[in-house]
Amino acid sequence: MSVAFDEKVHSTLADANLQLAIYRATGRLIDHRKQAVAATALPDYQELRTQANAIKRHTIEHLDHYLEQFEGNVTAHGGKVIWCQDATEVADFVLGLAKARGAQLIVKSKSMTTEEIDLNERLEHHKLESVETDLGEYILQLAHQRPYHIVAPALHLTRYDVGDLFARTLGVANETVPEKQTLIARAVLRQKFLAADIGITGANFLVADSGAVTIVENEGNARLTTSAPKIHIAVAGIEKVIPRAQDLAVFLKLLGRSATGQALTVYTSFLSGPRRAGEIDGPEEFYVVLLDNGRTRLLADRGKRESLYCIRCGACLNHCPVYRKIGGHSFPWVYSGPIGAIITPQFLGIQREPSLPFASSLCGACAEVCPVKIDIPKVLLDLRAEVKQAEQRSGTNRLERLAFKLWAWVMCHPRIYEMAAMAAAGVAPAGDGKWLRRAPALMNLPPVRAWLSQRDLPPAPAKSFRDLWRKR
């Protein structure tokens, strides 16, 4: 476990207010989802999951075909597709376009993909103003923090935090009532929408047979971002493509319910190209940035390819006993929870945080609630195997391997095992089961200390099982 990961986990566990905030927020989302997918509310929920999984599998297995079809249809509707391999290429495209059009102000709607490539920071570095407009994301941008949760980005902040933040950064009175805070943000952001030159969004789905970008949201900021400025740029990972508009009837029923328990989010926008002849408003230019950024590397791994089926509903975060304790900022990258634990090592390389696939109890709750049926525990196990294989190749786990060899040898020799057990029982005092951690020599060894900080050997019983068995 890296020091940074370890520190963030422990500071989160030690913060009682934060623990309560995470517990309450995820608990509420769990309840809402449960009601929304109950048999009385959505009788064909399991069938829809199966269909969603089949569509995702089919699309990912023929991704090149659907990307080309998508591009062809975007172009046919007067839009343009920009292919980018990494963050730099996306920033270069946006900066180039902004320069060519004399643009200075950009409004953004919530997008994990743009978080992934630090787009705001890159644009601001070049003196462009790029404003997040989702309320939660706006708060985080003012606070210089990254999202805590895929769908509830500011769940770790209280309204008192927000009141202080608005007072400090916007020069307004310190309001602690969410209704009033929302009105403050609405007033500031409304002016930004009306003055913005470019709107940047993510995409929940790219529809191949339509050349359309589909965006779901509740606030209306994505609609404003895609309607008010003259230019709309959607930034999406290449895995977001689905074959047909009709497939949305499956995915839209699952996404809102899995995320927040809504049958449909307040707004679902289906956008294909710039505004057409006769249409009264809408952007004059329409671009879709197709981003790789590690996805094709993941795609090459047949066993873990299903990680790309994710529709970012966040249900696995809410249901994960680990996420619910360690929170979103303990994770090493923008994607947190079970889905973060499987895609982070695959996008960035396993060495970024080798302990991440191990930060799971493998309870399987994530797979059970996943609307597209990603087998997250299986992928975690595969990643664990990869971490261990890498350690073996580099020889960094020599001590561990030696210990397991010794262990295996003892276990295969009953006499030796019995002698070892008797020796251990002789050393171990009966008592509270915290005897190992009182041994200073052991506690000074860093790996032992880390292990023993949470565990110890139980006190030795008076008679071993073998003794009892012989005398039965």
Binding site: E61, P153, T182, E219, S227, L248, S269
Partner: protein, 211 residues
């Protein structure tokens, strides 16, 4: 060029070659419920109310006009160019500005108007959703910028749900650059999960079904 590089990496990863055919995709799954018009309308209005939207059943155009007039009550409004609003005489109500065809003028008006009045291409019974297709008749900003949105919809426009919508509209992009589904008033729960309505879009929505 990145286009070729990415497509090549995708093909290499999948073991496919350029232009290779594809397997048959999973069959489209659309289940259209057979629900009579009256039940659909009642269900749609109930769903809107459950989301804190306001609703009205109008037997005639005159009734719809009277309802809208009561909601307006001296407020300023922008109306879309939907023929249905003209037929019902809603565009002639005091304070209502209809007939915008210029984007800049429409936007300026929407930025200050207190109410936006539209029709809807369809409504969905099971979720209480309005389906708005951008066209010369319907602009995007009227249902978005003013703090109150009134939608006046003919009863024949109420579909059972998403499955029926995508059955009769399999390729929305052939008709419009923008199809938006509106399900209740704009909302957020980003601060302590406390529900607040009217963040960026209208916090108040009225759905009037005529017929």
């Amino acid at each position: 060029m990145s286009r070729e590089a990415i497509l090549n990496q995708v093909r290499t990863a999948l073991g496919r070659s350029a232009g290779e055919g594809i397997a048959e995709p999973p069959a489209v799954r659309l289940r259209v419920a057979d629900v009579d018009s009256e039940t659909r309308t009642a269900s749609m209005l109930r769903a809107v109310e459950a989301l804190a939207g306001k609703t009205a059943r109008a037997a005639t155009c005159e009734d719809a006009r009277a309802y809208v007039a009561a909601v307006l009550d001296g407020k300023t409004a922008v109306a879309s160019n939907a023929p249905f609003l003209r037929e019902c005489g809603i565009v002639d109500l005091a304070g209502v500005q209809p007939g915008f065809t210029d984007a800049a003028a429409l936007r300026a008006q929407c930025a200050t108007a207190q109410v936006g009045i539209t029709s809807a291409d369809y409504a969905l019974a099971d979720t209480g959703t309005l389906v708005m297709l951008a066209s010369p008749a319907e602009a995007r900003l009227i249902s978005l910028l003013p703090p109150v949105h009134i939608a006046v919809v003919g009863k024949d426009r109420v579909l059972s749900g998403l499955d029926e919508l995508f059955t009769i509209l399999p390729l929305p992009a052939e008709q419009t650059s923008s199809m938006v589904l509106i399900t209740g008033p704009s909302r957020t729960a980003d601060i302590e999960q406390i529900l607040v309505r009217g963040v960026h879009g209208p916090g108040e929505i009225h759905v009037v079904v005529v017929g």
